[in-house]
């Protein structure tokens, strides 16, 4: 049962539980998730605190938190959690909500990169790393970022902008359900 401080507090927990198939009332608040987390030392709110903030209904804090964009999805937390609470799935859910609501992420480049990548999937069904990096550097106006590294990779034949795309693009684009992909918000 969610803690009922106000209507909003219960509804966030319920929405998270429903969307992510988790039961947050099972959380022992033991902190094993935070102890194992790969980026806990960088986060403003650790995984354990994220669970607590959901229970208390603090949408705003969560959607604006840096932790959302620092989770690397390594699944250490869920594998250590005695209640098997799927924290990476919860973080994904919160990210998606924040993104859809147009909330400015603390790590804009992360979102720019992900959106550009989805843009490429939308267009061609596949991603060419070289093209994606180039687009990313242009979009973030870092024209010379990694130029030296790029040259080294070129020499090693690791840059291949000509990755063939999929044939069934029309069918593939349906999967995006009319949502814009790869557009800067």
């Amino acid at each position: 049962m969610p803690i009922r401080i106000g209507e909003s507090s219960s509804s966030l927990q319920e929405r998270v539980e429903e969307a992510c198939s988790v039961d947050l009332s099972q959380c022992y608040e033991c902190g094993k998730c935070s102890g194992g987390c790969s980026t806990t030392h960088l986060m403003d709110y650790t995984p354990r605190k994220i669970i607590q903030l959901i229970k208390l209904g603090y949408c705003d804090i969560l959607y604006n938190s840096d932790a959302l964009w620092l989770c690397v999805g390594c699944h250490l937390c869920v594998d250590r959690c005695p209640a098997q609470i799927d924290i990476p799935r919860i973080v994904d859910y919160l990210r998606e909500q924040a993104y859809q609501q147009g909330i400015k992420p603390t790590r804009e480049q992360v979102v720019t990169f992900n959106a550009l990548m989805l843009g490429s999937v939308f267009k061609r069904g596949r991603v060419s790393e070289a093209t994606l990096m180039l687009q990313f550097n242009l979009r973030t106006r870092r024209y010379f970022k990694d130029a030296q590294l790029g040259t080294k990779m070129l020499v090693k034949g690791k840059v291949n902008p000509f990755v063939p795309g999929v044939k069934g693009t029309r069918e593939l684009r349906r999967l995006f359900r009319g949502k814009p992909a790869g557009k800067e918000r």
């Binding site: 999805g73 993104y99 992360v110 990548m117 069904g125 596949r126």
Partner: protein, 290 residues
């Protein structure tokens, strides 16, 4: 043995050597890889962090294509692709409502019960380390290797169901089967931060740096990986990590399939060993493996 093959985008571009060496050692072991026709990108971190339904749908399309090939078992050498495909298969199997919705979007039925295996898992569970060891003609004697699994090969354990989530041993056993020595170390299955390799280089230098440092402290002469993202990250960012930490690592980061190929007697050229940024050649030379 016949198995469907999902290479993923990296293996067609930056990680072509992983594709080359995979195909070579599979052929050597009598495994026939059938590439999924018209497969699409798994969406990687981008899809699952911005649009969950899209992430599952991208996996579902690949699974549906597999059905068209009348195959029920698929392997992917990329840990990220493997993890996305397996997660999609798992969710679709356990969530009827989601499955119905995805099938409506895809306008095609999604098969149930597809077996998704990482390439490492396929070798270890379907071929067996003993059989692999029997194929060794040039043992990797004297090589001290750090088997690096990264985060997606064994986790989440509830879905992957393969090896130990934090202290895996399968790749170590395989490398030992090839005649190499493996080191005991702390960062086998820690994250190298590859998802941030372009967007947040600071995190990569931090997490990747910890991995390289742990391998060095354990006395490893090279890292062995089973993921193109780990490889690219630890190899191409190694120079920046060295500058950042003020330590010279000079640790080659090789694919486990390249080492299998070497031990099976193939030349470094056909295994694409020249394509690695941190050259493994000085090391291979001192071990008499060239």
């Amino acid at each position: 043995m016949e198995v469907a093959y999902y290479p993923g985008c990296s293996l067609h571009s930056a990680a072509r050597e992983y594709d080359m060496s995979t195909r070579l050692v599979c052929r050597h072991l009598g495994i026939s890889l059938k590439e999924i026709k018209d497969w699409n990108c798994c969406g990687a971190t981008a899809a699952h962090s911005l649009d969950h339904l899209l992430a599952v749908s991208l996996g579902a399309r690949n699974l549906a294509l597999l059905d068209g090939m009348k195959m029920t078992r698929v392997t992917s050498p990329c840990a990220n692709c493997y993890s996305r495909l397996k997660a999609a298969a798992h969710e679709l199997q356990h969530d009827e409502i989601l499955k119905t919705e995805v099938e409506r979007i895809l306008e095609a039925p999604v098969p149930c019960g597809v077996e998704v295996l990482s390439l490492l898992e396929m070798f270890v569970t379907q071929v067996g380390i003993d059989t692999i060891a029997e194929n060794v003609s040039k043992p990797l004697k004297g090589m001290k290797l750090a088997a690096y699994y990264g985060c997606l090969l064994t986790r989440p354990s509830r879905i992957s169901g393969f090896d130990d989530p934090e202290q895996p041993v399968s790749m170590d056993r395989l490398l030992e089967g090839l005649g190499a020595e493996t080191v005991d170390w702390s960062h086998k299955a820690e994250c190298c931060g590859a998802g941030f390799t372009a967007a947040e280089v600071g995190i990569v230098l931090d997490l990747g740096g910890q991995v390289l440092e742990a391998a060095r402290q354990a006395g490893a002469e090279a890292l062995v990986v089973a993921c193109p993202m780990c490889q690219l990250n630890l190899d191409t960012r190694q120079g920046a990590i060295e500058a950042n930490r003020g330590t010279r690592y000079d640790l080659p980061v090789m694919y486990f399939t390249q080492l299998m190929g070497l031990a099976f007697g193939y030349s470094p050229r056909v295994l694409g060993l020249k394509r690695l940024l941190t050259s493994p050649f000085p090391l291979l030379k001192t071990k008499g493996l060239l």
